[in-house]
């Protein structure tokens, strides 16, 4: 995309963000909100560049965790969704269980998770995946079931085994659903990784937030949130782009 196309495309976002920034600054000054509760944009901006420590290792670790969590959630989610759509038996057995797993507040079982999977990058990924996999399961399963009888008949006429019908007909047909879920999961993986870091961590943006919140250094916490959102937006953007390349017929919103 050329620069002018980019400008044309994203000026509404830019405008909205600018408006929000202005409102934020205004609120902070007009309502005299305490900086430890809501620092001004300027303070956050400063914290972004002068946090007193280097952001890079934290950014790097959290990014890694998020991407890992995303892929785990995507792979496990598609696999489980396919299993659920595969047979009503599996669906009846698995779904209540998956709903159960998904409704468990992960923060509540933090000690168990800590003991079972430990702490570090991989466990945090697992945590993120646990938080992000469910939308993929549901959307995959629903998408796989939303195929017209005619299309299935087509597959059956050519004596295709069930797995081929899934591979060649159901799954491509469900791609808009799956891609939609991946967009959701891209953001859920971000939250998941941070929650994972909250449970136990030695580095990462979640670690920074937890640390600074306690000393009421909210500006740095907000700066971390901005980094986190930047990672989230980037991952989301990559998913949108990948979707467009991979399944151009399944056009959707961004």
């Amino acid at each position: 995309m050329t620069l002018s196309a980019l400008v044309g495309r994203y000026w509404p976002t830019a405008a909205l963000f600018a408006l929000l920034l202005a409102l934020w600054q205004l609120a902070v000054s007009a309502l005299e909100i305490r900086p430890y509760l809501l620092p001004s944009p300027a303070m956050v901006w400063n914290a972004l560049w002068q946090a007193g420590f280097s952001w890079w290792p934290h950014l790097w670790i959290t990014s890694l965790e998020i991407v890992g969590a995303f892929f785990m959630a995507a792979i496990v989610g598609v696999a489980l969704g396919t299993a659920v759509a595969w047979s009503p038996l599996v669906a009846n057995a698995l779904m209540p269980f998956l709903v159960f797993v998904n409704t468990l507040p992960k923060v509540a079982i933090a000690p168990l998770l800590l003991i079972w999977i430990g702490y570090g990058i991989l466990p945090t990924m697992v945590m993120g995946a646990l938080i992000g996999f469910f939308p993929v399961v549901i959307n995959t399963a629903v998408g796989l079931s939303q195929v017209e009888t005619d299309m299935l008949d087509l597959g059956r006429v050519f004596s295709a085994p069930k797995w081929k019908i899934f591979l060649k007909i159901r799954i491509p047909n469900a791609l808009p659903y799956i891609l939609s879920a991946l967009k959701i999961t891209a953001t859920a993986a971000v939250v998941g990784a941070i929650v994972g870091e909250f449970v136990a961590s030695q580095a990462g943006l979640g670690y920074v937030i937890a640390n600074t919140q306690s000393s009421m250094n909210t500006a740095v916490a907000f700066a971390s949130l901005i980094w986190i959102s930047a990672i989230g937006l980037a991952l989301y953007g990559v998913v949108v782009l990948a979707a467009r390349l991979w399944a151009p017929w399944a056009e959707g919103v961004e």
């Binding site: 006429v157 050519f158 491509p172």
Partner: protein, 258 residues
């Protein structure tokens, strides 16, 4: 017509729906011999598509017996080519890849069949459209692509549901002649074809027999042997025999056959 490939005995079909049952077929008995070209004609909604689906093993009949190659049909039967009433092209695949789909589904090497697919597309007048997506084709073009797909694996049994319905008269005639060639009219080994059409002339021109179905619930109203010489030629259409057979079918259809 030594052996009978398709054997239907008192087949009935009732669709159950929330809004009440619909009896689509009542008591259909029909045999189609190996190598025979049989057309089905009948009013809209009389159950022709339903019958084709039952024979293909896609839906179970609710009554009667269905046998293909001597075996009871309980699930989709192998080695058939089917043209559905709608094109049902996969929108995410190019036309060529849609035509190659049966190869992929049946576990055959799609790469080897590429040339055949392209030749079929050429035959159907879709030479330049192999790389287009389905939605970039006109209705008639999509239907032709679906025909190519059904022919890809050169199946011995073809079930065709109004394959030329969306075509203009001329293209239709061309395709009919192509179909006869593919069927094996002049060569030795003939395929078996069950062909649904709304055109009486087309049915008579193509078939060994024309089976006329009554309005819903469908029954066999008449089974008319078409004893015209083969290979059939366009000139045949001007013949008196052709006209008479057309009229016979017409009479059976309109119920004036007595």
């Amino acid at each position: 017509m030594s052996t009978s490939l398709i054997d239907l005995q008192k087949v009935g079909m009732t669709y159950e729906a929330a809004s009440g049952p619909v009896e689509a077929l009542a008591d259909i008995s029909l045999r189609v011999g190996t190598g025979e070209f049989v057309s089905l004609v009948g009013p809209s909604g009389c159950g022709k598509s339903t019958l084709l689906r039952i024979i293909a093993g896609l839906r179970p009949a609710t009554k009667g017996m269905v046998e293909v190659t001597g075996e009871q049909v309980t699930r989709p039967i192998p080695d058939i080519g089917m043209v559905f009433q709608a094109p049902i092209l996969l929108k995410w695949r190019s036309i060529l890849r849609n035509v190659l789909l049966p190869a992929e589904l049946a576990g055959r090497d799609a790469g080897k069949l590429r040339d055949r697919a392209l030749a079929l597309l050429d035959m159907a007048g879709l030479g330049g459209f192999a790389e287009k997506l389905p939605r970039e084709l006109s209705g008639g073009m999509q239907q032709r692509a679906a025909l190519c797909r059904a022919l890809l694996l050169d199946p011995p049994l073809l079930l065709m549901d109004e394959p030329f319905g969306a075509l203009d008269a001329m293209t239709r005639d061309d395709m009919a002649l192509e179909l006869l060639r593919i069927w094996g009219e002049t060569s030795g080994a003939r395929k078996t074809v069950l062909f649904v059409t709304h055109s009486i002339a087309e049915a008579v021109f193509l078939s060994d027999r024309v089976v006329v179905i009554t309005p819903r619930p469908g029954r066999v109203a008449a089974d008319i042997a078409i004893d015209l010489p083969r290979p059939r030629t366009v000139e045949l259409r001007a013949s008196e025999a052709f006209g008479r057979l057309n009229f016979d079918v017409f009479r059976a259809l309109t119920g004036r056959a007595g």
